[in-house]
């Protein structure tokens, strides 16, 4: 099975986010980026399928800060080939990212056709679209999002896909290959890879650089203002040591008859 994984970087929201000087976008100057969480699950699902059936996995991403680390980590995890799409605007919207990837894929040597393209079902910055359906449509591939399971025989031309609904319900679909899937969660949590293996990959493996083809599309939206949300209410914050705060909470719960 020949699988392509699309990876994208997003701000690490564990860190403090700041609005940039334009007042309408994030200040990315000092912002740490990480691979989008559901993209990481897509990578894991691709590796699970490779472990199960053999074949090859290619990881492809637009050139963004720290993308080399992400791609070398993917190589250390078992990806066969890593491709970086260069000469792109670093601050592409999701809609443009999907379009640029779709236009560039045919220009990547020895890549298409593949049996399966997997990526995350969404990213936390998907304001104007999601990458997965945009790439699927541009390439004329069937698309399913919120995917939680992929089953296929090694040489099969169809796959059985499990999708997430609310309340723990799963929907089962059948789709011909090639197809494009937006992963919500892999069958298993993304694997851990020791730093030593990543370092080894940096020495032994290479990331292919391919210039972007085509043009980003107009986003057709204007961001008037970006700010940290001011919620209508805010929690009353307790202060003190963990023990002091725990004691206050205990009193609070007792006063409400909850203990």
């Amino acid at each position: 099975m020949k699988i392509l994984v699309l990876l994208k970087m997003v701000p690490d929201v564990v860190e403090e986010l700041e609005v940039g000087p334009d007042g309408t976008s994030l200040d990315l100057e000092f912002q740490r980026l990480i691979v989008s969480e559901s993209d990481d699950h897509a990578l894991e699902q691709a590796l699970i399928l490779k472990d199960r059936h053999g074949g090859t996995v290619t990881a492809l991403a637009l050139d963004q800060p720290d993308i080399d680390d992400v791609l070398f980590t993917a190589l250390a995890k078992g990806v066969d080939r890593a491709v970086k799409v260069t000469e792109t605007d670093t601050a592409l919207t999701s809609r443009s990212t999907g379009t640029v990837i779709a236009q560039t894929l045919p220009a990547v040597p020895d890549l298409l056709p593949v049996d399966l393209i997997v990526t995350g079902c969404q990213a936390i910055d998907d304001l104007d679209g999601q990458v997965a359906p945009l790439v699927a449509n541009a390439l004329g591939l069937p698309y399913l999002g919120l995917v939680t399971g992929v089953a296929a025989e090694p040489d099969a031309d169809r796959a059985t896909i499990t999708k997430e609904y609310a309340g723990g319900v799963r929907g089962v679909f059948e789709v011909p290959l090639p197809a494009l899937l937006g992963l919500q969660v892999a069958e298993k949590p993304p694997r851990y890879v020791p730093v030593a293996k990543v370092r080894a990959a940096m020495k032994s493996a290479q990331i292919a650089a391919v210039p972007a083809a085509g043009e980003p599309v107009a986003t057709r939206i204007d961001v008037l203002d970006m700010a940290k949300p001011e919620s209508a209410s805010h929690a009353e914050m307790l202060e003190g040591s963990p023990e002091e705060m725990a004691a206050k909470l205990g009193e609070l719960l007792a006063a409400r008859g909850l203990v």
Binding site: P11, V13, V14, E16, L17, L26, R95, C121, I124, D125, D126, L127, D128, G129, Q130, A132, P133, A136, N137, P142, Y143, L144, G145, L146, T160, E164, Y165, G167, G168, V169, R170, G171, V172, F173, V175, P176, A179, P189, R220, I221, D222, L224, D225, M226, K228, P229, H234, A235, E236, M237, P242, M245, A246, L249, G250, L252, L253, R256, L258, V259
Partner: protein, 324 residues
Amino acid sequence: MAQNIWVVAEQWRGQATDATFELLALGRELADGLGTSLETVLFGHGVGDLAGEFGASDTVLAADHPAFAVPTAEAFGAALASLVKERQPRCVLVPLTNVLWDALGILPAELDGPFINFCQDVRVSQGRIEADCLLYGGKMRATVVPTGDGAVFGLASGVRPPDQGRVDRTPTVEAVAPAVPTSLRVQFKDFHEPEAADVDITQQDVLVAVGRGIQTQDNVELAEELATALGGATCASRPVIDQGWLPLARQVGKSGATVKPKLYIAAGISGAPEHTEGMKDAELIIAINTDPEAPIFGVAHYGIVEDATDVLPALTESLAAMKE
């Protein structure tokens, strides 16, 4: 050009969902604000009777097709896009739910018009439509306007009270027949129900919920101990469930359960919109998180900026001390 406001109805197993009525309430406001009509798009199979429930709208555009029973990008999404192209509404409001996920997601690929995702509210301002969106896991709000007509808005749950969208009036029903590809590649097979849960978290008075901030599987025990002391149960946000540290039936949020306990302790949960939509109506919410800017503090009643793995055992101990 028609300038109507559209709401795409979501139905799940033959029932119109709250998400639909929330959007009908919002859509009515927009239509009244712009002096135009509100139309509900009802695509489904054998659910035409639901049209009568959409009295908040002036017209229901109803299409019946076997491929609409379970919405997909290829059938539902493409047909919706073709109807948008044909009728050219001013804007289209779509619930950002798991049921309509694929059909909504394909629209920016099928249509040239604006697409605005993660909307928490949409309003008419100075004659134009603008939206407030929550990005980056709920840590940033963006106010966004489309730069053209035919904008599609993906709306989070809870934009208006659903009852506001339940209007006892009979809308006009117009049958429509948007094009559906003759050979569909994505074939729905069946639904798999979740395994019977050992604990029904929707029936608990007290829930101790853990998120990524709990750090390790062993630390989940700290939440179990507190839950036991409070006579409740544990539950979790997605990252903990995805790690397999608690069973799927314990997931709270968009893809899990919606809970309304008397007490909800959110330990190490940042409060992304996907989680808070499942717990924001709890009677008392206490949040513990190391990040003072975590969005969970916007829905909690009491907050503690601290490592949950320190506070949970301290609280368990203080409860034990109170009982002595």
